[in-house]
Symmetry: D4
Subunit: 168 residues, 8 copies
């Protein structure tokens, strides 16, 4: 089976952040791959990856990078597949990575999610897959329903908090 | 007895920050409620809460949220009760939550307090209640008087600090 | 008739920004006053104003200030009436005024609205008045309904925009 | 013919910025619609729009908003279609809108593009459509090729610039 | 003996930061005092302090405050003695306090030093005293000479660091 | 007559900003000088100026600079006279100059005023002179009194503004 | 004659900013070239340029880019020649471009100059050339001497400014 | 043997950050020196160092500084050797040091690397040396090749991560 989503990161130190994206794709049974690539250290490999991505059957690329984060933009410049950028917090609270990913020039968009927001990157990739995959679409709706449960659980916890003038 | 103030937060993890608001309302004997709601995970429940708030006798709503903090603004869009927004520090030192709460478009204000400033949210809600509740008004004045005591205590501590050329 | 809301600003140069608050209060027939006061240039007058505000029958104070904007916080320290702070954009895109108003220490809240958001300050003051004034409450609801009209008008404008592949 | 992409904005004043997205979709012959909706002024209409979007055959939603920009996130909370957020520069150089759109909480992603980057929003929506539309995929590749032409033209212009020690 | 410099802070929790100013004044044998005052919690006491400062023989006031730091500016508005402001880092990396202190409106300056820079506040106050106190002037020059010693010591440490291609 | 205050700037383009300091000193009849010096373009002249400043009878130095504003700090490193730094807004809204001036390392303070706040620099220098010059002290108090007049005038202007529900 | 310095920019709209670098190199008689290249629109051409740069005899590359400015870093990843990055102010006051250029990951430096600081980029490139080109070294020293002249001229201008209490 | 590169820092506390530059130069067998100097504490020594640098055979100067970081710019003002500035993170996440180093006025460039990026400073200095030192040029190319190895190793680590739907 071919991967539909490719998760790219610069080093294994990014994996603890990016693991949430992998887990989500696994949960939704969307085949994916994980690789390390660097816009600056392995530009040739990035080019090869980006140019072959569509032919290999990939539908979405998730690229994570910190600091002067060029990886998502560089990949986006070499493919017409949608590229999701995940700014990694490594310095300046992640603001440098956010701006270096989201502020792409006209012509080459990167679909940027929040700082360290790898779960959201995974969900967003699934939303794109779901446009033509009914099973994933159903799973996403179910996942979305599940988000409410955390609120229900939170309410149950908060109901236990005791104050003299707290009602309910 | 019906609650006059409603404290809303997205998860139990916000409770340690928001507890100060609850304690203050309890101290001033203002009936209140605490609930978990999420603008993004339970939009229908948020709508139901906001639209019924006034009819249920609520006077003020305190809503806390972090990151792209939409909860206070979304509630404010569905009621004419005053909504107090508390930006929770979860990323970017809380600056994202502050801007996402305070910079509301013309027509839908949110009364914003400082980052993680839940005590001030509680006090502000009491100030609004006090406009027509003499007991609360008196309690607020007493509380304000009490703020001086911390300064008196601080001065006593500082008076003990010994330097050769320190006078007094 | 006594004013219920007091609009305070540091100079007549703030009036073009603050005019929207005055117009809104006028529209809702809420009696108000407008005065110039400066936390730094007329501290004695600020103190006199703040300490007499409640006795004069005022319910809400709207205070506008730019740069190291101390006026709303200084007034709030001398009254238990709710104080709404309007950060005026005079330098640093208004970020200095926003932080100097919203980041009040524990004990003395200022209900902060967005940068230059005087209309929202006016609405917020009316929302507080409306807690015990049915006429204002009804007028606010009507105003809120009216906000939709701008969207309806915008849709009509956008409907006229012609593109070959635009539907509707 | 049903629209595949829906462009949403808060007022006609956003249209000059968002026009580039519309023009791009028109150029690629992707059917689209343009509507005005406001998370804060017409929350009921936003809900109706978001909940019916998938059933109406929409594939991607582009939502533009400024300041405390809630529209993209609120729509994203009510649909599993991918939502592209365009931060509009209205204050603080657009930084408030960027953070209010991109920093979404876990579970509800918004695919954020740069400040005022409506063309990139249009391209990104086309990239998602192209995953299962060969015609659009081909058009995108052609568009991408065309981006080089601007550089060729720029080089021709720069070649004309005369300096004594400029080579070539 | 009367104090020449007054160090003001909002609470004993600021003392660990402000201690460096006290130690420096002590080292230079400049009589000083330390007190707790709050622009917001004890405005009357602040006014009394500021208005009597000159008559009491004070020459310089050092005022420390965090967040929406009003204390230095409020004191400065009530005296013509030079007021040195020390922004305390309590939130937003201290940027809020810095802006709330330094961006004073025309007419009321505060001599601002760096975030948490209490030693520099002490030195600056001594520089003002030294304008008419030869003993302090001499001590300051000696202190300044001493700053070089740290560099000499650092060089000695660095000289011990061993690298194969390090010269010297 | 010898100057007591020296105003230093990097170029004549800073004069329109710095003129307010000169005018204020002139108004208070404090002898001053104005010179152009650059920490980066004329380091030798800066050194000569700073090292001779005290011997020439100067009491205070006002140094203005923009961008990576080194001039105030460099002068401060070579004299024990108090140095007032004026951050000039030339890029990044003046934030770069502010930080480059105020965030001095321990040992070498610069008394920093707000961005482009040359009037406040002039006043602050006069406040230091006034510590031992009764005439200047009196003039400062008179100037401070005069600040109220602007507020009085503003109130008169605002009194003329007509609204139906405006009181007073 | 072969160019020693290559100036790269993304479009002719950057030329007005970058012209100062070209003029400086021309003045110092350093042969240079100017070309348009885009990291995102012409990645293949950028690669070809970067990989052949050293063989073509180039010594230094000056690359200008705005927003999510990848060009300098991408070139730096493909050559061991020193690359000077010039952040172009196109949005967010140029802060996005500055961070996207300067915050390069370990291993691939970009020698970054200030926002829009193309003259400094030209000078810096000349300083590198001068390490082994006596003629350029002499010209640089002469240029540096010339910087003082502006200060001399500024002083002459300032000497003409008339104030009653201005000395000299 | 004479040093070609000089590493300057303000105190031994900067050495843990700057060690990476030293190690890199050592690895490439480029003779270097390390010294402590302070723009503010030892201005005379800085001047002597900067003015003699070229005559002593130095080719590049690496200067590290934090906060209002003047050292790189002050050295650059006194030599025509290229000066590499390393902003040290000591406050405000290092943003103050970055701006105080990179935003130099026209005429005096500092080649700025990222916050705490001492390795990149070392590499950049080697790139300048390599312009006329074939051995260093070869070593740099080899180092650059080596950067890929980390990516290879990272890929091997990531290949071991097990997910049910992970391919490869």
């Amino acid at each position: 089976m071919k991967p539909l989503v490719s998760i790219i990161m610069g080093s294994t130190s990014d994996f603890p952040v990016m693991e949430a994206a992998a887990k989500f794709l696994d949960e939704l049974e969307i085949p994916f791959e994980i690789n390390a690539l660097s816009a600056h250290r392995t530009p040739a490999e990035v080019e090869q990856f980006a140019k072959n991505a569509e032919a290999r059957g990939l539908k979405v690329i998730i690229a994570a990078a910190g600091m002067a984060a060029h990886l998502p933009g560089v990949i986006a410049s070499m493919t017409t597949l949608p590229v999701i950028g995940v700014p990694i917090k490594a310095s300046l609270e992640g603001l440098d990575a956010l701006l270096a990913i989201v502020q792409m020039p006209p012509g080459i968009p990167v679909a940027t999610v929040g700082i360290n927001a790898s779960l959201n990157a995974g969900i967003l990739s699934a939303q794109m897959i779901a446009l033509h995959d009914e099973k994933v679409a159903v799973a996403l709706k179910k996942y979305k329903e599940g988000l409410k449960k955390k609120i229900v659980a939170a309410n149950e916890e908060l109901a236990k908090v005791q104050f003299k003038h707290k009602i309910g």
